[in-house]
């Protein structure tokens, strides 16, 4: 195998699509924001909202408490909007979409042509700053489910957007969330009407293509009373020597008796073996269990990105609400991850569960950072946290930084964490039965991650399992 082939094997989504782009002028200015708002044909209230966030951004400082440090980002030297030229006038149906784009998604294994899909997954495909296509719209419409790009929702469903946008992640939040509020380009909007079970998995596939461009998508999911939705998110980017910023905001709102299941397989370009290039994945994900008996469950498989820095969180406001967080974070070579969750218990009888598995190999650094906060009014609440770390080699690091706060006497918090290497006995056992070292490690690691992989929807679980093995390739021996 020549070196080129080897490279492709490492990160098979590293190709670029050569396509003509429309870009906003470089730099983070009021003009850029106005440009984005104009090209998206946004109403005035939306522009005002963005500008408010932009003004707020001016007084905010970039946080620096995280473990992975990175060189200062020059926000003025970035493009905040980049879209394929062919998308300027929104194509009415798939036949009008640039074949090059369709081909890109086919190459990524995301066919946008509905007939070709075997499994019932509706996809919203986001390419740089615009949504390319959303599949299965008609079928969803029948049930009253809204699944569309957020830019479309702003025009067609302003009341819903106005009511919920920024209600979980306010524009005055931390630096990157506020940055997103000012310059977000596209993303998905989901509304599930009362007492409706979404008949298929909804999915968004994010693709960064243009260089020197940041991707700032915004996703808003609202599950009305008694509804259920399972949402998947996937992402890839080309291989480049530069670091690219991806600062997304995801807001979830679950009303009475509603349930949202949010799964992510994050496979942004991680940079090469020497740590050159790769995506900075600084994402804010937060869900609010507003209603009684509501439930939000986050599942994430983090294998890509040069730096992953995110804490999908649950605010458990409604009585009896449930928050869950299942995570696998794999870092290899020079990758760095600082991830975890926040479970904020406010309502009575709220429950949360955190299962985090961190694996570091090469010279990578992997941090679990989390908060469990049980307020004084959250009587009879319960939390269970388990975070396990696996180290491969003595050049990598595994860290655990949990914050645990308990403010009432009827609630219970349990936290457990372990750090170890792969058990020699298990390896020996596998070797003895004819598996080579790499296969054995892959098997053991998959077993280590099983608790989390089980939580993924079928379609994703297979892909994720493969990813786990690929991400660790070359880390053994």
């Amino acid at each position: 195998m020549n070196s080129e082939e080897l490279k492709n094997q490492e990160y098979k989504y590293g190709f670029t699509t050569d396509i003509e782009n429309i870009k906003a002028p470089k730099g983070l200015t009021e003009e850029t924001i106005k440009f984005i708002s104009k090209i998206k044909k946004e109403p005035k209230w939306m522009l005002d909202w963005r500008l408010k966030a932009f003004n707020r951004l001016k007084v905010l400082e970039e946080p620096n408490w995280q473990k992975p440090k990175y060189p200062k980002i020059d926000y003025q030297n970035l493009y905040y909007y980049s879209a394929p030229k062919s998308m300027k006038d929104k194509p009415k149906n798939l036949d009008e979409v640039d074949p090059k784009l369709i081909e890109t998604y086919n190459k990524l294994g995301i066919p946008l042509n509905e007939q070709k899909r075997l499994s019932g997954v509706a996809v919203d495909a986001v390419f740089d700053s615009v949504s390319v296509a959303t599949t299965f719209k008609g079928e969803l419409d029948k049930k009253g489910i809204i699944f569309c790009p957020i830019s479309e929702a702003i025009q067609k469903h302003p009341d819903l957007v106005k009511k919920y946008l920024g209600s979980v992640i306010p524009i005055s939040d931390h630096y990157f969330a506020t940055l997103n509020s000012a310059v977000f380009t596209d993303g998905s909007f989901v509304y599930i009407p009362p007492n409706t079970r979404c008949p298929m998995e909804l999915s968004t596939y994010f693709r960064i293509n243009a260089s020197e461009t940041g991707q700032f998508e915004r996703t808003l999911i609202i599950a009305d009373k008694g509804s259920y939705v399972s949402y998947l998110e996937g992402c890839t980017a080309p291989m480049r020597d530069e670091n690219q910023l991806h600062a997304a905001n995801v807001e979830l709102v679950a009303l009475d008796d509603a349930e949202i299941k949010y799964s992510t397989v994050q496979n942004w370009y991680p940079g090469d073996k020497d740590g050159v290039g790769g995506i900075y994945n600084f994402v804010t994900k937060r869900g609010a269990c507003r209603g009684r008996n509501s439930k939000i469950s986050w599942t994430q498989v983090e294998t890509g990105s040069a730096i992953t820095w995110k804490y999908p969180s649950c605010i458990l406001q409604g009585d009896n609400s449930v928050g869950e967080f299942y995570s696998i974070a794999i870092t290899n070579n020079h990758q760095k991850a600082d991830t975890g969750t926040k479970m904020i218990h406010l309502g009575k009888n709220t429950k949360s569960k955190i299962i985090s598995k961190g694996i570091s190999a090469g010279q990578a650094d992997n941090t679990y950072r989390g908060l469990v906060d049980i307020g004084a009014k959250a009587k009879n609440s319960r939390n269970y946290t388990q975070c396990d770390s696996l180290l491969m080699g003595n050049k990598c690091g595994a860290h655990t930084v949990p914050y645990i706060r308990n403010k009432n006497s009827s609630s219970t918090i349990e936290h457990e964490a372990t750090t170890s290497k792969i058990n020699e006995d298990q390896l020996f056992y596998c070797n003895q039965r004819g598996l080579n070292q790499e296969e054995a490690v892959s098997l053991i690691v998959n077993g280590f991650c099983k608790e989390v992989l089980q939580q993924l929807p079928m379609e994703f679980a297979v892909e994720a399992q493969k990813l786990v093995s690929i991400s660790l390739e070359g880390s053994v021996g």
Partner: protein, 414 residues
């Protein structure tokens, strides 16, 4: 910040002009940052600035070291006596030990106390420290009896600040059990102590911190130590009864086979706030650290545990364990924990656990069905919860004494 203080530098003895100038410089540096507040990650759960400004005004430094009453000593077991009055070494009686084997004197210089960046109380201590004790155990000498430091505070310390610094050296293959026994209940003062510990090859230091009765004191103690090959450090923190207490321990396990144990059993009641913060640095292979922190929280008390285990890449075969448990007896009480691991070596066994909650209802039910009334059942369970800490103290007489003093505290729980 400045108006909070009324410091008189003339009250502190400086050995030379340079020292006097350094003190003033350090004090100015302290004033610049003031007392740490919750914006400082180390003080996230204990906002000292808020606590001090709420409870103190016109803080002055103390220059009175006269004993104003007779100190009641412990009769439960034989021991050597060292008496500190308001942080200053008053007298010592080491008659159980061989001559010249154990030395204790007033600490004269702060040499060896390294600057701790990001700790403003370090500036404060260096500015106002009145010394303290310098204790050294000679090579190959195992102390026959424990040393009790009667840490006595007089009744006239309202709004006073006491800064002292101690040094302890346990030389090669020697052993020492040191009990710090704090006495003084009446006045409301702030004490800021820095302690430097060196344990040489094969040395063993057991340290017990105990509070005689409830006290209006606000204490901060910073312990930093270095351990040599095959040395052992054990610290038992049982200082319940203070209004505020933060003990910060930074131990460096520099050479192989050294071990560090930190155990704590605290029983906090109304308006009490205690924090234990540890950092155990595993810098060499085959070292062991073990931490067990237990808190019983009543009324509106607040318990905090921040523990960090750091394992350097060469420190293979490290065995590090951390456990913090809290029993929360009242809805106003609060327990905060941040058990942290930072690990760079792969062949290690590191784990931590933390739990907090109320007393197990089923256990109470079990006891009550056997004819034990509710209050007694609760106390029994609390006793069992805290007594686990003493299992690691081999000397029976000391253990009984500690159990007795904890029992008195538990009896006060309603």
């Amino acid at each position: 910040m400045e108006q909070l203080f009324n410091i008189d530098f003339k009250r502190i003895n400086s050995s030379n002009d340079k020292e006097a100038a350094d003190r003033k410089k350090n004090f100015e540096l302290f004033l610049k940052g003031g007392f740490p507040n919750k914006k400082n990650e180390n003080w996230k759960f204990s906002d000292l600035n808020n606590i001090i400004s709420k409870n103190f005004k016109n803080i002055t430094n103390n220059d009175d070291y006269k004993l104003d009453e007779k100190i009641e000593t412990i009769h439960d077991f034989e021991h050597n006596k060292v008496i500190l009055v308001n942080g200053s070494l008053k007298s010592c009686d080491l008659h159980f030990e061989e001559k010249e084997k154990v030395k204790i004197e007033t600490l004269k210089s702060l040499e060896g106390f390294h600057h701790q960046s990001n700790n403003n109380l370090d500036y404060l201590n260096k500015a106002l420290s009145i010394g303290g004790f310098n204790l050294e155990v000679q090579q190959n000498y195992k102390c026959k009896k424990p040393i009790i430091i009667y840490n006595y505070f007089t009744a006239n310390l309202n709004n006073k600040i006491i800064n002292n610094s101690n040094k302890i050296r346990v030389s090669q293959n020697s052993e020492l059990t040191l009990i710090e026994y704090n006495i003084g209940e009446k006045s409301k003062f702030f004490k800021n102590t820095f302690e430097k510990i060196n344990i040489d090859k094969g040395g063993v230091l057991k340290n017990i911190i105990l509070q005689k009765t409830k006290c209006n004191g606000y204490f901060y103690k910073n312990i930093s130590g270095i351990q040599d090959y095959n040395s052992s450090y054990q610290n038992f923190i049982l200082s319940s009864g203070l209004k505020f207490n933060k003990i910060e321990i930074d131990m460096i396990l520099e050479k192989e086979k050294s071990s560090c144990y930190i155990l704590s059993g605290l029983n906090l009641s109304k308006e009490e706030h205690q924090e234990i913060k540890t950092q155990i640095n595993h810098l060499a292979p085959n070292c062991k650290s073990y931490q067990k922190i237990k808190n019983v929280l009543e009324s509106d008390s607040k318990g905090v545990y921040q523990g960090k285990i750091f394992v350097k890449d060469i420190a293979q075969k490290t065995d590090a364990y951390q456990l913090s448990k809290a029993l929360i007896l009242n809805d106003q009480a609060e327990f905060n924990a941040k058990p942290e691991l930072e690990i760079y070596a792969d062949d290690v066994k590191c784990s931590h656990g933390s739990s907090s909650g109320s007393i197990d209802e089923e256990a109470i039910h079990y006891l009550m069905t056997r004819g034990i009334e509710l209050r007694a059942a609760k106390k029994l369970l609390i006793k069992g919860f805290l007594n686990e800490i003493f299992d690691n103290i081999p000397e029976e007489k000391i253990r009984t004494f500690l159990e007795k003093s904890i029992a008195v505290q538990i009896d006060e729980i309603r």
